[in-house]
């Protein structure tokens, strides 16, 4: 019969025109790019809007909070501690702490992580994600070149980052805040885009090496984490060279609104181009759907340990859990080693005493440790949410169906995944605290610190359980909205980390589960909030499981 609809943009490759050059590896990139834009027509605007709104509101609140030169000078003094520098950016910004310098100093490192995350997800979603579902095979069987999918994904990431840079520049320059001009805003926007482009390049490589989307994203996210930790260690004063090993460090060293220098961003572009070229090279050395290494054979029979709901959930998540444990141990150790510097500087810098008084009561090392615990717990919370969401992925992927038609109940199946999340929270916090404590004890010679810091990490566990409970309630009662669980760690990060810097009102912190945790070791232990959080978590988990038992199983 006759076709009823005009061919869409993505179908233009199927037009009855002979392929121009059958060997051209990039044939079809344009069509795929338009198709990708169509698929992400909601996702990308949401990302860009969230990033721009965060930046603009931060710029406004900075201008409102520090409205006198004295206030800004005082802020610069507060920031001149290794702890604060580790959380923000290089000390050079403090020399002329204008509104613009404040914005760059506080935001580029943190935003670099988010922009990197956006770029990584764009690239893996449109490359490895497509291969994993088998859709790539269908697309590649049409007149589409070998490199077209990767090229389209990278182009999409590049476009998104350019759009972000322009939006940031225009909206910041439009605020009319003193010292935030258009030329600085352009560098500021470009610094974000440069970070994003580097990580898109990194994802182009990891999408080739890992044979799963999860693995490709995970590896690229580990690179983001490493880049952030390197610059944190470098900026806190131990060695500037460490910061120069990090793309986030380069972006910060363009010094928007302070020096406005472009050349560190060229470093980003060069590395991004090199990564992309590596990605293309690797992709032509492997089969569609395969990783770089040939697939290994597995066991012919299942071990006893595997054949229980918990055993299976653990097996499915053990790679992720091991990654988070290792990452958090290293992260803790990095921060732990900085604590030594803080202790050294304690006597020598005069302003420290002032800063100490502002934070209240505890030693500077202790308040630093409390602050770091929030960051560590947010990372653990990411694992916890991922672990619960894995159950949802198993359900929609049709794999839960096979299990739930055997002799296990829905509650025990879901309980298996929940147990991995809950016990994983304990394990990740334990290892982060251990890494932190051991490094801190080695750096300061104070061995009592190890136990204190492990306790400080573990006291956050009930808050992580609460996050698991929230994710589980969504899974049980609002399954289509399960992804909203990500709001919990994102919000916890925003108020727990930025809130410290930007002085959010107290109620904003109370909305986050982490906001109720006693801030050991700076603050004394309080059992009530810890017990209440545990009870809340238990209630949420019970509700979530009950909801799951009473709804239809959803398979895509």
């Amino acid at each position: 019969m006759t076709t009823t609809a005009a061919p869409s943009a993505g179908a233009s490759a199927a037009a009855p025109v002979p392929a121009p050059a059958p060997r051209a590896p990039f044939t079809g990139t344009g069509a795929l790019l338009r198709f990708a834009l169509r698929r992400d027509r909601l996702r990308l605007p949401v990302w860009l809007a969230a990033l721009v709104v965060t930046t603009v509101s931060t710029a406004n609140s900075t201008a409102a909070l520090y409205d006198s030169p004295e206030a800004r000078a005082s802020a610069a003094r507060t920031m001149a501690t290794p702890a604060a520098l580790a959380m923000t950016g290089p000390q050079h910004f403090l020399d002329h702490y204008t509104y613009g310098a404040m914005l760059s100093h506080k935001m580029i490192g943190f935003m670099g992580v988010l922009v990197g995350l956006m770029s990584v997800l764009i690239v893996t979603r449109h490359t490895r994600g497509e291969e994993e579902t088998g859709r790539a095979e269908l697309v590649r069987s049409t007149v589409v070149g070998r490199h077209a999918q990767l090229a389209a994904a990278l182009s999409l990431a590049l476009l998104a980052n350019l759009a972000l840079a322009l939006l940031l520049a225009v909206s910041l320059a439009g605020l009319g805040i003193e010292s935030i001009g258009l030329s600085g805003a352009l560098v500021y926007g470009a610094a974000h885009a440069a970070t994003g482009v580097v990580l898109a390049g990194v994802a182009a490589v990891t999408a080739q090496t890992s044979s799963s989307t999860r693995g490709a994203s995970g590896l690229a996210l580990a690179v983001i984490g490493a880049a952030y930790i390197l610059r944190a260690a470098g900026d806190s004063g131990s060695s500037d060279a460490l910061s120069w090993a990090s793309p986030i460090g380069w972006a910060q060293r363009s010094y928007p609104f302070a020096d406005d220098r472009w050349w560190p961003l060229l470093l980003c572009l060069a590395v991004a181009a090199a990564c992309a070229a590596t990605g293309f090279l690797l992709s032509s050395r492997r089969d569609v759907g395969a990783g770089l290494r040939p697939a290994r054979l597995g066991r012919a029979t299942a071990s006893r340990a595997l054949t229980s709901p918990f055993g299976l959930a653990l097996r499915l998540q053990r790679g992720l859990l091991a990654g988070f444990c290792a990452g958090l141990f290293v992260m803790g150790a990095m921060y732990g080693s900085i604590i030594g510097d803080i202790e050294d500087m304690l006597g020598s810098v005069e302003q420290i005493q002032q800063a100490l008084a502002e934070i209240g009561g505890a030693t500077l090392a202790e308040s630093f440790a409390s602050m770091v615990m929030v960051v560590i717990s947010v990372v653990s919370m990411v694992f916890v949410v991922m672990a619960v969401l894995r159950a949802r992925a198993e359900e929609t992927g049709g794999r839960a169906e096979a299990l739930l038609t055997t002799g296990i109940s829905r509650a025990s199946w879901l309980g298996g995944h929940l147990a991995v999340a809950l016990l994983g929270a304990v394990l990740t916090q334990l290892l982060a605290g251990l890494g932190f404590g051991l490094a801190a004890a080695a750096a300061t010679g104070d061995h009592a610190m190890t136990g204190d810091l492990i306790a400080a990490a573990l006291v956050h566990v009930p808050a992580l359980w609460t996050a698991a409970g929230i994710a589980l309630v969504l899974l049980g009662l609002l399954p289509r909205a399960t992804a909203l669980a990500w709001v919990v760690p994102l919000y916890a990060f925003a108020v727990g980390y930025l809130g410290e810097i930007l002085r959010f009102p107290e109620w904003a912190g109370d909305l986050s589960p982490l906001g109720h945790v006693p801030q050991l070791p700076a603050a004394p232990m309080e059992w009530t909030p810890v017990l209440v959080l545990t009870l809340v978590a238990a209630a949420l988990c019970v509700t979530g499981i009950a909801g799951f038992r009473h709804r239809d199983l959803e398979t895509e």
Partner: protein, 348 residues
């Protein structure tokens, strides 16, 4: 029928997804120990029915009993006694096929190791390969082995052989027959007619969420016509005067016609009078049975009916009908099939 024990008993089953009515008063009864074919085109509601039978979906209306129990309220008890092969088997990418088989079997409550190994052998499956390395057919084999290695008394098979090659299809048929001999009940959902024809004792045909017909194949065939081809010594005359004979084609001493189920005897007697040299008769295939019920959809798609014989649906309420035919539906189908014929320009 009420005296016999039923493994599956469904009546008036309803299920809607938003605005879509997936099941609209579906009835199904599967007797203990039989292989029951569950036929319907894509989207007729076969998989939805099976998911309700498994307690994965909650019915919106009607009653459902699986092995005498409510599958939603007592899912786990029911699951311990049944095994399920989905139409689209999804495996864990980083678990080997052997691990997946063991996992599913042990969670069901134990595995017969010898039987499992034998099935792995018969289906020519490499259990060490990881889930992501399996083809669709091999993923299907994993689920089939896991289901059949158990000693479940009820097997729910949802288009279980999609993706299997013809050799494996034969192995599958053998294995299902063995299961039947061992006294197990099998519900075999399919749109592969030949497979159901070979295995099923009784079939139910569903369409748009309703059962349109169910019964034994013999009962259903009675409702349609047998095609007869014969070569005789002298040209045959007089068949066209016989009631119940349709589509008569005579070509010298060769003759081909279709005859109603109850009139075969009379037709063959006529042939006998002209000296039969060769005689071939085809019973109606399930394909023809199906086409009777889906003729309207085919007509809508402009399908040419050709010589499939499904155009002969104008007597759905034939004499001696014991099957529970949905008369209105069948009549619709008949009209539409006629329309399809007219479109196809076939001479009547």
């Amino acid at each position: 029928m009420t005296q016999e024990s039923l493994a599956i008993e469904v009546s008036g089953l309803q299920k809607t997804f938003g605005a879509t009515r997936a099941l609209d008063g579906l009835d199904l009864s599967v007797r203990t120990g039989e292989v029951h074919g569950f036929l319907g085109p894509n989207g007729a509601g076969k998989s939805t029915t099976l998911r309700v039978l498994l307690g994965l979906l909650r019915a919106d209306g009607g009653s459902t009993r699986v092995l005498g129990l409510d599958p939603w309220d007592r899912a786990v008890e029911v699951h311990r006694r049944l095994a399920y092969v989905p139409g689209d088997v999804e495996l864990w990418p980083n678990l080997s096929g052997g691990e997946a088989i063991d996992l599913l079997s042990r969670l069901r409550g134990g595995i017969d190791r010898r039987r499992r190994d034998e099935l792995v052998e018969r289906f020519d499956l490499d259990p060490r390969k990881k889930g992501r390395a399996y083809s669709k057919g091999n993923r299907q084999k994993v689920a089939i082995v896991a289901a059949l290695a158990s000693d479940a008394e009820l097997l729910l098979l949802d288009e279980p052989t999609s993706g299997l090659d013809p050799l494996m299809e034969v192995v599958f048929q053998d294995v299902v027959r063995e299961a039947k001999e061992a006294g197990r009940t099998v519900l075999l959902s399919s749109h592969i007619l030949a497979q159901v024809e070979k295995l099923a004792d009784r079939v139910s045909i569903i369409r748009r969420g309703r059962t349109v017909q169910s019964g034994t194949l013999a009962e259903m065939r009675h409702l349609t016509r047998t095609t007869v081809e014969a070569e005789t010594e002298r040209p045959v005359t007089g068949l066209d005067a016989l009631e119940g004979v349709h589509h008569l084609h005579t070509d010298g001493t060769r003759v081909r016609f279709a005859v109603d189920g109850g009139r075969i005897d009379a037709a063959v007697r006529v042939l006998g009078g002209f000296g039969i040299r060769a005689l071939v008769s085809h019973p109606p295939t399930l394909e023809e049975l199906m086409l009777r019920h889906y003729g309207d959809e085919l007509a809508a798609n402009g399908h040419r009916n050709g010589s499939s014989g499904a155009d002969d649906a104008d007597d759905a309420d034939g004499p001696g009908s014991t099957a529970t035919a949905d008369a209105a539906d069948a009549a619709d189908a008949a009209d539409a099939a006629d329309a399809a014929d007219a479109k196809g320009g076939e001479a009547r």
